[in-house]
Amino acid sequence: MTDASRPERPAPPWALLAELTHACPLHCPYCSNPLELARRSSELSTGEWADVLRQAGELGVVHTHLSGGEPLLRPDLADIVAAAEAAGIYTQLVTSGTALDEARLAALTAAGLRSVQLSVQHADARANDRIAGRPSSFAAKEQAAALVRRAGLPLGLNIVLHRDNLDAVGALIELGVAWGADRIELANTQFYGWGLLNRAALLPTRDQVTRAHEAVEDWRTRLAGQVELIWVVPDYFDGVAKPCMGGWGAVSLTVAPDGTVLPCPAAAALPDLAAPNVRDRSLAWIWERSPAFNRFRGTDWMTGPCRGCPRREEDFGGCRCQAYALTGDPARTDPACAFSPDHDLVRRLSEAGPAEPPPPYTYRRPGAAPVAPA
């Protein structure tokens, strides 16, 4: 795409997902990190992150999610929080809860940390540790939740749902209430990257999804005004494409540990994206001018049913990474959409039911994923 075809400046971004490191003590089989994890030696320095956050504030970013991997593995995390605070950016820590202690949390809070989101894999401790691929991680999470509440910070739980925990959704909500969560996000697994690699093990039955959704709606009524429940739709089952990222290059950007900037965390897998890097270019150029951020911006790039669809400004054609993962062409309509000519790819999977017995997980570890063909 040339600059001439897009003379207007895009609206500024609201949010920045900072993947501070891809190192993580957990090995969840649906991890949103790319299959090829960034090495620790390639990570941005404290000073580089501070500069990214300063630029982000000037560009209009209001929120940053300090994530990973496990962001607590960065010994300079409090300095990074302080840099965001200095840039006027609201910080939320997204953590597995391992390696959080009172002194660490106090340092982060003093630096300006506003809120914490904690991942949970299952309401049952043993199942949690099995899915996370880490013994005793459930106990660490329980302790982390208590520390966050004691510090007076808002606590959100982030739970990725799949075949192995959808039947426990009620117990997971009860756990969130018991731990003092203000918000519980129940996100059905998105199948790209590690999730796609483990799809045969993670894909639930339609009945499981239906029952879980009913349970969530029932709890939503009971908890109204106390705890916010978020249900992130299972797009394989709904026949409706999700408005992925609120549109390509429309709302938020992701900065990977090595400084690569992406319109969404999964976009590293797209071919020929020529993802820009903060080590080479300013964040403003990357957001406004880079070919990668303009590639699927707006509606001009759309093909097939999206082009004339009245929903094109609502779902933005769905997810580019899913279109690429399932059809090999990132510019096609998301196959999750019932109007997609490729929708059978998704429907066949959701109707066939899960594999029996479930295959073992390929846990998220450096080198665990098969190498992509050259």
């Binding site: 500024p12 209009g60 209001v62 939320q92 808002p154 203000d182 918000r183």
Partner: protein, 89 residues
């Protein structure tokens, strides 16, 4: 949830931040997973919610600045609505 009592001194909960956005030229209320764009003088009203002023005190301060505006009727309703949202305590 009960309506705030008369001696209520509204304040933002610690998790919420009121800030001016110079890029977009607007006031914002920033929450853990949400940003509320404040229209009109909503930011001015919230700026007075510092936990020391009663609702009456806020109304008086605004009436002085905006003598022609219906602050005595509109502002308590606005504060009540924000309290019910959990954005004021």
């Amino acid at each position: 949830m009960t309506a705030p009592e008369r001696e209520w001194c509204p304040a933002l909960p610690p998790a919420l931040t009121l800030r001016h956005d110079t890029v977009r030229g607007t006031d914002l209320l920033v929450l853990p997973e949400r940003v509320v764009v404040l229209k009109g003088h909503a930011g001015t009203v919230l700026g007075l919610c510092d936990g020391t002023r009663t609702v009456r005190g806020i109304v008086d301060a605004l009436a002085e600045r905006f003598p022609d505006a219906p602050v005595a009727t509109d502002v308590p309703l606005f504060l009540d609505r924000l309290h019910r949202e959990g954005w004021l305590r």
